[in-house]
């Protein structure tokens, strides 16, 4: 549900563009959505909602996997259009439409016929109904066809469809929307010029997934009103999954949901993690909780303020995004880090106009924040601002002075004197002006520094931070970013990790001969090349097992024992096959092929 919010921008956008889609050619919108394919569904859903509400009831979504050929595409298209027609009309003869769409030969002409009948029907309907529909939709609503994943459609299908539909554009007002994950160039590489010239393409760039992430973080994590917070490690894990695995905002939200679940499941004190109003009912913890809450409010404001500064600095020593800064602050005392030091140094070199705008932004942040302690801060910042203004005025005056001195200069003709006075002038001016400005700038930076030291204390230094902060990153990684292969590897190589039996304890890299059968068989097969002789394998296995069972078992070495070992071997080998380590080989009889390299 939070994701919806981030997609709201699209809705505004869509209203604009559909108005523009009027042309002799097929109006086409190329929607560049970025690589986070999994998030596209939501975008399309909100898009269809908007279209449905404002422009047309006739929308069809096509996916490449449903459309291997033009025929299939047309079928799908007609099916969707006719169904949505049924929805709009809410007619009782659903069966009729169902039957007809199965039987009708799916062609463009039948589609046109359908369209005409539908539009006529709406015209001939009762006036009251007509008015409502016409107020919502256009007179002749266009049919919107959305290609969700344009890149995966086969070129031929797309070309044919476009060519065919361009012939009928006058009878059937068609609008195409291409969902594109890579770059808009793909349209031209997919479609030859003769086809793409039939389209009137308008390009729309959606926000990058990074921006969506920032919105979410901003709206969820950096809000005092939302009591649940993520610890530094957890946030880092989530962001890493996002940046290095999928770029999927949806997955980020999923991770966040899991955090909430885990937090409330595993942390007994999490019952106190709720809105402050509710928390007030409990008396003993009330004070501490309030402290924590106040801390959050202050923390966030100062964080934003610091972000205003750091995001302006060259090279971004503390990161460009506020989330990076947030992480840094959560991790440990930020003012002790090198990055902070260097960013302060850089801040002392900012020019005046930047500094002033930043200060103004900070004032805005503090004014809008709900914290009560910031009145003084706002005062102080405003004072800085007035001082800057004063400085400006002074500088102006100085300008006048310098102008006058220049006039004096013109009078003098002596070259030596001229030079000397120029130098003097320059030096004095710089000295005077810079000191004043610099002093002020130092003051500002120092003040910000003091704010940081006061308020940006890492959360785990606070009492009761466990209530609001979820910190077990390992759980998260385990469940979201699991490594099944490593688990198998560990189980096979080091069974002691799971089976706590002293006999299984062994050094790293080696394995006890008392290990479970499958481990022994696995370990033996690691020593083989690409093909494994089953009989050798069995020999080796029985050697190990016999030794493990000890001499007394040997004494009873009868057929039966051998059969049992044989059976155990068969079981272990077929288990390995199930796990995908080996497969039967056709190359040689009584051999199996290894499917893995090296260690696992």
């Amino acid at each position: 549900s939070f994701l919806r919010r981030s997609h709201s921008e699209f809705q505004e956008k869509t209203t604009e563009w559909t108005c523009r889609m009027k042309s002799k050619e097929i109006p086409t919108a190329a929607l560049v959505l970025g690589v986070n394919v999994t998030d596209h569904d939501l975008t399309f859903r909100s898009l269809s909602e908007v279209l449905q509400n404002n422009i047309t009831p006739y929308i069809a979504f096509l996916e490449a996997k449903d459309c291997p050929g033009v025929k299939k595409l047309m079928q799908k298209l007609m099916g969707q259009l006719m169904n949505c027609y049924v929805d709009v009309d809410s007619s009782e003869d659903e069966d009729y439409v169902q039957v007809s769409h199965n039987r009708i030969r799916c062609s463009m002409t039948s589609l046109i016929n359908w369209y005409e009948s539908v539009t006529k029907k709406t015209d001939s309907e009762t006036p009251s109904k007509k008015r409502t529909s016409s107020s919502r939709h256009w007179q002749s609503p266009p049919v919107v066809v959305v290609f969700k994943d344009m890149e995966s459609f086969s070129t031929k299908v797309l070309q044919d469809f476009i060519v065919i539909s361009s012939q009928h554009i006058h009878e059937l007002p068609l609008v195409l929307i291409f969902g594109i994950a890579t770059s808009p160039m793909i349209i031209h590489s997919l479609l030859p010029h003769s086809v793409s010239s039939l389209l009137c393409i308008e390009l729309f760039q959606s926000l990058s997934c990074k921006d969506h992430l920032s919105t979410i973080i901003d709206k969820l994590l950096l809000r005092a009103s939302f009591p649940f917070k993520l610890g530094e490690k957890v946030l880092q894990v989530l962001i890493n999954i996002f940046l290095y695995h999928d770029f999927s905002v949806q997955n980020f939200v999923k991770g966040f949901q899991l955090c909430i679940v885990e937090h409330f499941c595993s942390q007994p004190v999490s019952v106190l993690c709720c809105q402050l109003v509710d928390a007030k009912k409990r008396e003993t913890t009330q004070k501490l909780l309030e402290d924590l809450h106040v801390y959050h409010e202050n923390y966030l404001s100062v964080l934003r303020c610091l972000h205003v500064f750091t995001s302006f600095l060259p090279k971004y020593p503390l990161g460009k995004q506020i989330r990076e800064l947030h992480c840094a602050c959560l991790e440990n005392q930020v003012w002790e880090t090198e990055e902070y030091e260097s960013s302060l140094q850089l801040a002392r070199m900012l020019n005046k106009s930047d500094l002033v705008t930043m200060l103004q932004q900070c004032v805005e942040i503090f004014v809008s924040s709900s914290g009560k302690e910031f009145d003084n801060t706002v005062e102080k910042l405003k004072e800085f601002l007035t001082q800057f203004q004063k400085l400006e005025a002074e500088a102006f005056q100085e300008q006048d002075v310098s102008v006058s001195s220049q006039k004096e200069l013109q009078k003098k003709t002596d070259l030596y004197h001229l030079q000397k006075t120029l130098l003097e002038l320059k030096e004095s001016r710089r000295y005077k002006k810079l000191t004043k400005f610099e002093m002020l700038r130092f003051d500002v930076v120092d003040y910000i520094d003091s704010l940081v030291r006061n308020y940006l204390v890492p959360a785990n230094h606070k009492t009761l931070h466990e209530i609001a902060y979820f910190n077990t990153a390992s759980v998260l990684r385990e469940h979201l970013n699991a490594a099944p292969r490593i688990a198998l590897h560990t189980a096979l190589n080091n069974p002691y990790r799971y089976l706590k039996n002293q006999e299984l304890k062994s050094d790293e890299g080696s394995i006890s001969n008392k290990a479970p059968d499958i481990c022994i068989v696995y370990k033996l097969h690691l020593e083989c090349g690409r093909l494994i002789n089953l009989v050798d394998w069995l020999e080796a296995f029985s050697t190990v097992v016999m030794a493990a069972e000890g001499p007394n078992a040997d004494a009873a070495s009868s057929d039966q024992v051998d059969d049992i070992i044989h059976a155990r071997f068969i079981r272990a080998v077929s288990e390995l096959e199930l796990l995908g380590f080996i497969k039967p080989s056709k190359q040689k009889t009584d051999h199996v092929a290894r499917l893995t390299w090296g260690g696992c």
Binding site: T38, D66, D246, S248, Q257, V261, F264, S266, V475, E478, H479, N481, P484, R485, I486, A487, H489, T490, A491, L499, K500, L504, N513, K514, P516, D517, K523, E527, C528, G529, R530, N533, L534, D536, E539, A540, T543, V544, M546, A547, P551, D554, Q560, D562, D563, H566, A567, R568, I570, R571, S574, E577, L578, G580, K583, D590, V592, W597, G598, C600
Partner: protein
């Protein structure tokens, strides 16, 4: 009889009836359990209990996580292996606790069995090794002689090493040979032959594949019996391990209800664990158990059991996507419908396909369908791309159980079955008996021709044209179209395989080993 394996247990709330009734629908072989839940409140109470129980649960994983293993260890490069390494390691392992190795088991009678094929095989290997011989002759004559008597199975890897490592290798070889000398040679002969005791064991597995079709599963029973005699190692520890996993049940329930789906991974059969979960948590609700490892499970059968038994819909669908659409629609319409789907081995052969995974993923994304599945294959995670992963919405749980894969491997077309011919004799006759006399004649012709050529190692199969000619002469077909139609039927039953030769000619082969084929012809002669 496939439905037998999709146990569908349906709990329905019947307000009128108070007593529990168990209804067996024998015809369909469905196990339908009609249990009365007083009403939805009970469900809610259950959920609440789960929630409270989950609250008390501490997430500190007692086992830690397996992430301590570095990637380099798991995904290392291929290294050339020496043939003796395995035996070497075996003896090493055998000696570790200071116990002496017992070489006497090589005396077992079964290993003395020698088959005529062995000599043939070693001679062909000899040819291949001859060029290498020159290289080694000067340094290690002993070793070579040994190689020749015991033909080396690892020719591929063998060719990779240079003479430089051969000396070191020789030392190893001698070391090992002291331990293994007694058993090595007879063992090798066994490799090439198919001695009787081994064969029976292979057959045991073979018959399991056709279990259900044929009545004599006496042999498969013996394997089980044998395994039962062998005590399960570390039973106590495994039990402990399982109990740890069982503590997660309430948490799973909670998370399933919150819209996540759960996937279990890790070594060992997860069947029992899921079964326990089913018994302890899902008794009162509608659920569907899918045994993915069953070799003839299909997507359609899964979907059918949902539409027919959960939704009580009678009728067929044109395609799985249509069926899926119907299911999704029904679940959307009726918010009181809830379904738990348990899939053992979501990564099995039959469900591995892209299309089935897509459909299952879409199914699992329905809010009121809760999926809990297990995977075993090392490459199983590769099944899913980003789109499917987001549909599945997995939460991963490591549940290493170390339990043997009893059920899972018993159905599998196990490698030991395929080793001895992919079709058993019994299934061969069974299929053929259902065909027309002419069709059987056609197959006989092919089988006879193949047997005549059994001594030709490079026999490519019978070309289609020749085969057609022969069939015409025997008055079995009147046009090549009828023959083609017949061959298609054979191919569908996996009785024959076609291969295109280098010259583009189609060659026909029966993928059954010669002895089975001879047995088959013998039997056929008896029948006629």
């Amino acid at each position: 009889d496939l439905f037998k394996h999709i146990q569908n247990q349906i709990g329905k709330s019947i307000k009128v009836q108070k007593n529990k009734t168990q209804l067996m629908v024998g015809v369909k072989r469905f196990v339908k359990k009609l249990e009365n839940i007083s009403d939805d409140e009970a469900q809610e109470i259950l959920e609440e209990k789960n929630y409270v129980a989950a609250l008390g649960l501490c997430t500190q994983d007692p086992m830690g996580n397996g992430s301590s293993v570095s990637g380099g260890e798991v995904y290392s490069f291929q290294t050339p292996k020496r043939s003796s390494k395995m035996a070497e390691l075996a003896s090493e392992l055998a000696q570790t606790p200071g116990q002496s190795v017992a070489p006497d088991h090589s005396e077992c009678p079964e290993k003395t069995a020698k088959a005529p094929q062995s000599s043939k095989r070693s001679s062909s290997d000899k040819v291949q090794q001859r060029n290498k011989k020159k290289e080694f002759v000067s340094t290690t004559p002993y070793r070579l002689r040994k190689r020749l008597t015991a033909p080396d199975p690892y020719l591929e890897s063998e060719s990779e090493y240079s003479a430089s490592c051969s000396e070191e290798d020789e030392e190893d070889q001698k070391e090992v040979s002291t331990v293994l000398s007694g058993q090595k040679t007879p063992a090798k002969t066994k490799a090439a032959s198919t001695p009787p005791p081994r064969n029976t064991l292979a057959k045991k597995n073979k018959n399991k594949m056709c279990e259900g079709m044929f009545s004599d599963n006496k042999l498969s029973q013996t394997l089980h019996d044998l395994l039962k005699k062998a005590p399960l190692a570390y039973a106590a520890e495994i039990k402990e391990l399982n109990q740890q996993h069982e503590r997660l049940f309430s948490k799973w329930m909670l998370q399933l209800h919150l819209g996540f789906n759960i996937v279990l991974y890790g070594l060992g059969s997860k069947r029992d664990l899921l079964e326990k979960f089913r018994i302890s948590a899902l008794q009162e609700s509608v659920h569907l158990v899918v045994n993915g490892y069953f070799p003839s499970i299909t997507l359609r059968s899964i979907l059918n059991s949902i539409t027919e038994d959960v939704l009580n819909h009678i009728g067929t669908f044109r395609s799985p996507p249509d069926q899926l659409e119907f299911i999704i629609k029904r679940f959307k319409e009726d918010s009181s419908l809830e379904l738990y789907v348990l899939i053992h081995n979501l990564d099995s052969q039959m469900l591995r396909g892209e299309r089935s995974q897509q459909i299952l993923a879409q199914l699992s994304s329905v809010p009121s369908i809760y999926l809990i599945a297990s995977i075993d294959h090392i490459n199983a995670p590769l099944l899913w791309d980003q789109a499917k992963l987001s549909l599945y919405n997995w939460l991963w749980y490591e549940t290493t159980t170390f339990s043997p894969y009893v059920e899972e491997t018993s159905y599998e077309n196990s490698l030991l079955v395929q080793q001895s011919g992919s079709l058993a004799l019994s299934s061969l006759t069974h299929v053929l008996r259902s065909l027309t006399l002419n069709a059987r004649g056609i197959f006989r012709l092919l089988a006879q021709y193949q047997l005549e050529n059994k001594d030709n190692p490079s026999y490519p199969g019978l070309s289609f044209q020749d085969f057609y000619q022969q069939c015409r002469e025997a008055f079995l077909v009147n046009s090549d179209l009828t023959l083609r139609a017949q061959l298609t039927e054979f191919r569908d039953h996996k009785l024959i395989r076609t291969k295109r030769g280098a010259d583009g000619v189609e060659y026909l082969l029966i993928p059954v080993d010669d002895s089975t084929l001879a047995d088959f012809l013998e039997k056929e002669d008896e029948d006629l």
